[in-house]
Symmetry: C2
């Protein structure tokens, strides 16, 4: 269905700081650059997800300047050559980051992917992309709506509207992160999906909508891109113009305001890997629910998630516990409390 | 009451291996050489307990050859000059170790003390020594009976017999480590004390009893002592003779068999510091029952004992947990399970 003449450009957003996965995740090496769900890092898995040359062009990476070497080394490891590595001089949230990629990409369709999400069923993901592509070629902005399986309060929701085609619907409205009761009601009612922050749209369509709904971001990002310095594949946007760019998310700045916004609902084993609890949920555990990585000895324990990249952890008789050791830091937190870990990461 | 002409010789047994306090306690530096209950090590506290020159002569230390430098350095730190440091070429339990000290001491009264016990009330201990001394000068072997405050199953018990004098009784019998029901019965019945492994007797009286009840130990220890090599205060028993010495405890070899065996019951805040749980019990904790040493951050936690000599431990929302980090090892065990730690120490 996709035109061979105009392959999709993967845009990989790798600017996150991942404070909830401290102490493994640090400002120097945030979670997307760690091998948390597999032997490859989450950034590498994201790039590998969109490497089929029949569908995809070389990716554009948008990340923090401090991570330039990490980005390049991790791409080299998996043999992926980016068409551009855009190095943000400061964090300005997703709307400006995607604008830089859009100005760089010309008029290609862009598949915008955060680099710190897990997707178990890649075939389902690729099918959803195929489903959304015809509308995208007609100028629609598409998002992927994750089929919810729990009343999560940490995600935004999408109310799914009228059917626009096979596997794709109009977005009726975006729903902010709900409280527990509201989340349960949406789950019971059906017709809602999680907003996974993955998007497909034409670069021009995105920039046009940005120009209408967030003109300041559009204009400053354009200036920053035009005045960028280039070093090989590296692109360094003009720091002054980019600093002048308002910081805003693509959801607030564009998706919630634009006219032609579609959602492709998809069940693909998606997780934003937002906590150590989430990682335990994704991990392959033994019969007692234990999962360990690194030098770990575990006896008479159950439902334990232990990782160490250095010191040896010996645990005996513990249950429902998360233990993460990295370098000189050891975190100990009961299951269900790992969202609070950011209190330690400062 | 004691004769100024014949002060008591402290005999400090420092050969223990302390596997239950792993990972802090290691074969290279077992628990007696660690500052676990105070800024001084338990070995140092033991030596300081018997340093009053009006009562005590310079101590004799019996320890493992591998700990010679540790013993000497820790004594030097507290300004105590030993009359002898007897370095066992192999571990042969307490009966042979005390025999070596007795051969070295001539005919002085010996106060035999393990170096890895805590005693909170030193005045009570010194009073009990004074109470036992007259009988000891008459040739009795005295032990100190710790007033029990819980139905412990990890200690031997002493059934207290007829009164022999102020604060001192005949030992009616020794009771092996009991099961829970038996321990509870003894506690309810009264008239029993824990066998704390601290002894007071004349060197000659001990050796005479040893010659009768364990003549092989007596003879091989005598040969090992006679053929010992000396280097300053160091005394290295003849390895071949000492290796030929049967390995046995003073309790089995002598105390349970000898005729004139007395017990001085004493409540002195004694603990054998046999586990991390025991150390938590001895520690000064905050209002939530938490106690931490070293680089530790603790939030929303209760009844937690955390020690680290290296890595930083950050714990959140945990309860009833023991965490010990030493060098490259981190132990995590719930309160009440720390006796099982020796499973990891091998």
């Amino acid at each position: 269905m996709s035109s061979p003449a105009q392959p999709i450009v993967p845009v990989i957003l790798s600017g996150g700081s991942g404070t909830r996965l401290w102490p493994m995740s640090t400002p120097e090496r945030p979670k997307q650059f760690l091998p948390l769900t597999a032997e490859a890092t989450m950034f590498q898995l994201t790039a590998l997800r969109a490497r089929d040359p029949d569908r995809f062009a070389s990716p554009i990476i948008v990340g923090a300047a401090r991570h330039a070497e990490l980005i390049e080394a991790q791409l080299a490891e998996i043999g992926i050559v980016p068409q551009a590595v855009i190095l943000e001089p400061a964090a300005r949230n997703t709307a400006p980051a995607i604008a830089l990629a859009a100005f760089e990409a010309g008029d290609a369709p862009l598949l915008v992917m955060p680099s710190d999400h897990a997707i178990a069923d890649e075939a389902a993901f690729l099918d959803a992309i195929e489903a959304a592509l015809p509308l995208v070629r007609e100028g629609w902005l598409a998002t992927f709506g994750i089929t919810p399986d729990a009343p999560e309060t940490g995600y935004g929701y999408i109310r799914i509207g009228e059917r626009l085609g096979e596997g794709v619907h109009r977005v009726e409205r975006f729903v902010e992160k709900p409280d527990r009761a509201r989340a349960e009601a949406m789950l019971a009612e059906g017709g809602h999906a999680w907003n996974g922050g993955i998007f497909l749209f034409g670069a021009r369509a995105y920039l046009d909508a940005l120009a209408v709904h967030a003109p300041e971001i559009h204009d400053e990002a354009k200036t920053a891109h035009n005045a960028a310095t280039r070093e090989g594949a590296r692109l360094l946007p003009d720091p002054k113009a980019f600093a002048a760019c308002p910081s805003d998310s693509i959801d607030y700045a564009v998706m919630e305001k634009a006219e032609k916004v579609a959602v492709a609902p998809v069940a693909m084993g998606w997780s934003d890997v937002g906590s150590w609890d989430a990682l335990h949920g994704l991990a392959v555990c033994d019969e007692a629910g234990n999962c360990s990585h690194g030098p770990v000895r575990l006896e008479d324990s159950a439902n334990v998630y232990i990782r160490s990249d250095g010191v040896r952890i010996s645990a005996l008789g513990v249950e429902d516990l998360i233990v993460i050791a990295s370098g000189n830091e050891v975190l100990i937190v009961p299951k269900g409390h790992s969202q609070e870990v950011k209190r330690f990461s400062g």
